[in-house]
Symmetry: C2
Subunit: 291 residues, 2 copies
């Protein structure tokens, strides 16, 4: 990676960590258990891919070195809070029933189910308080909700029959479960930079393609990685009979599809100047990652 | 009640029912189970107090007979969705573990815990998509979240020790758990009518006072009403050792406090013209209700 891109991403990550810390309620403020559970689930861990995509999209449109503004940072924190809430609720006993997340016990293992449900609710709610431009709440709600957003994808994922799920069905699940929020992360960053329709379209296409590639990579890692490497229980897709892309088409074809989607994502950025380099670098990381 | 007020409230209720029906995903759209659970939990039942307060506040500010506009109806649907989501999650086995709501089996009894959690999540998310004015998302998020909104109140409610909870502690719990969303319902309706700060302040005071009176009335009914009358399990506060106002100060003092708060709420509306009559009528209903 170009050194200046690496420096930019490091600074952006610092902004996100600081922004999240500031936006979350303090741990010594009542109700303390709730706030401790929210902070535990958001701070200190996580790749921050969605907020970094948001800030990198803002930079791609704004073009300047300074790049980041308050609206973009608010949106970046919002998408990370939505991501964190979805992990808390997905890990609950009634859903995926997982004990390990980001290398630590899941929220309900530490704080109990009631607080975990409510901490997820509070994070989803707080996310919408971070958005500072008209139209942003609607974009985030569509990406996080139903019928084409994350909650719909989670339901489809729970209900899918692994045996009969072909590549088209898995793609539709992935679009809703994963790609919609990643596309929204990019879109909100571009909106913060006052992108026009001509700039938004390729960035949306980028977000969707890289979101799909990311989920396929995740499914491949679930098969090949160890629990220690992943920081979450490995092999869950197989043991829970989840419909995944590798299960539908085989490992080699899934790897090829992830590569094709990465190239499509990068091609969508073709006309953007070098300000989009952090976005390009993040896309590469999302597909070549080892955890 | 004045006949014209009754007619107005009937029409407003019709608008709310229609608005909710239109805003919720269709039952034949995938994922069907999720959408069926959302519609089951929102449609057909419920007093619609929060959306009616929203529309009545819009009318109180706008003053005209026509009154209701799209922004107010969107906000009205949003507060009802937030209310419905909170009931679904509060009724879950890990929280209040209740089987009956609005005279029917609770969402998780019908659809299972996983779908109930996700239907609540989807309703909370969809609520924010209904808001059409800048600033509305922040108002709703503060009222629904933490540290002074509904989720914080629910946690405080779960953690409160009935034995040691005095009137001040119960009041703080009620403010967050119930009054914040009711106050926001009024505030969002006033915002839809482009209320200025001088109009917003008394309406906020009204909303907070009537919200507290409403929760005290609810606690009194939980002691005196039957399950059949209430449409939800009666006597739960006592059996779950909840901190309530009647438990802290006794039934007679709680009834007196509800009356005092109703008078304070109505006094806050003193300078508003007859356009505020539906708001006054709703306030009376919220305290004199039998279920």
């Amino acid at each position: 990676m170009d050194e200046s891109v690496e420096v930019w991403l490091g600074r952006a990550r610092g902004s996100v960590e600081h922004g999240l810390d500031q936006a979350l309620p303090a741990e010594d403020e009542e109700p303390r258990t709730l706030h401790a559970a929210m902070r535990y689930s958001v701070l200190g861990r996580g790749k921050r891919l969605r907020p970094l995509l948001c800030l990198a999209a803002e930079r791609a449109v704004a073009g300047s070195e300074a790049g980041r503004n308050d609206h973009a940072l608010g949106a970046a924190c919002a998408v990370e809070m939505v991501h964190a809430y979805s992990l808390i609720h997905d890990d609950l006993p009634a859903l995926d029933n997982d004990d390990l997340r980001r290398g630590r016990p899941t929220c309900h293992k530490v704080f109990g189910e009631a607080i975990a449900i409510l901490a997820g609710d509070a994070l989803l709610t707080l996310a919408f308080a971070q958005l500072q431009q008209p139209g942003m709440a609607r974009i985030l709600a569509l990406a996080a909700g139903t019928p084409s957003g994350m909650v719909a994808g989670q339901v489809a994922d729970l209900e899918a029959n692994r045996a009969s799920a072909d590549a088209d069905i898995v793609r539709r699940i992935h679009l809703a479960k994963t790609a919609a929020l990643i596309r929204a992360s990019v879109e909100l960053g571009a909106m913060a930079a006052r992108a026009d329709a001509g700039q938004l379209a390729p960035l949306r296409a980028f977000g969707e393609a890289i979101g799909l590639a990311f989920q396929i990579t995740d499914d491949l890692l679930d098969r090949s990685g160890s629990t220690a490497e992943l920081g979450k229980t490995a092999g869950k897709d197989e043991s829970q009979s989840k419909a995944t892309f590798p299960a539908a088409v085989g490992t080699a074809a899934a790897e090829a599809e992830a590569g094709r989607l990465l190239r499509a994502a990068l091609a969508a950025l073709d006309r953007l100047p070098s300000g989009a380099d952090p976005l390009r670098a993040l896309a590469g990381q999302m597909v070549s990652r080892t955890k």
